[in-house]
Symmetry: C2
Subunit: 172 residues, 2 copies
Amino acid sequence: MDTTAFFKFTYGLYVVCSKAGERQSGFIGNAVMQITSDPKQILVASNKENFTSELILASKKLTVSVVGVNAQMDFFGRFGYRSGRDMDKFSGCNSFFTADNQPVVLDNAIAWFSCDMVEVIDAGTHYLFVCRVLDAAITDAETEPMTYNYFHKVLKGKSPKNAPTFQNNSIN
Amino acid sequence: MDTTAFFKFTYGLYVVCSKAGERQSGFIGNAVMQITSDPKQILVASNKENFTSELILASKKLTVSVVGVNAQMDFFGRFGYRSGRDMDKFSGCNSFFTADNQPVVLDNAIAWFSCDMVEVIDAGTHYLFVCRVLDAAITDAETEPMTYNYFHKVLKGKSPKNAPTFQNNSIN
């Protein structure tokens, strides 16, 4: 198997957030997609070790912000490579708000979704969260979404170890 | 809810194929992604009405070809907007081969994957097929993958009614 073939899949980049009680966190994910149109449902893959996974299982709610192409590496540094168990990831945010009692990151966002998690599938290292979309909005109609390809090639970003796309000898 | 927010998700385009007994078919899908790295697993969403869904349920096998950016509309016309119940979609292919007894479309492909379907999730209008990747290869290292965004904006492609992203009053 040529494992570099996996680099040919196309993704966007997203901030997935959840709040349970007083605890809240978020992570940068690429494995997010729409799975049905009627009703509006999306699927989010999240590593079991992500603190946000715990919060989603507890609250059965999450939000997704679509990251725009102008985001810089410090943004990914805050949300992508550190654990929300050890820090409040939202403390450095310039702009976020609350939808359905859940945090929504607006920094670098071009659109957001608030969701009920309606089913969880155990896929081994990752949970697959099937989510019903409650609300959605565009916050920046001009900026294109950042693609995972752009993140790797232009920003020289790497997959963190909790990503579905992580490879030990990753070239990306 | 602003349903145009869903257009901000980023996808690639893929030909998903399966063969059960003597019947084989394929469809153009965008809802394909890697979900775990160890083992290598991908998730494929497929409308329940797709003929290929029947074949995947029967064979528990499928292949995925990653479509390159140079594919033209006639290619999507053959694989994306007609049912394999009524025609042999492979009859017009210039190049395909067989991996693990399953058909792999090489026309316009830049990489392919052959998979065992290990779990099926009922998501309403669509099945979610959790697949273990058996083999993978790159067939064109130079050409970039086609993105769904490019398909809509440059090729002026539309979502067929069986797509997860279909909207009745779709602007894309």
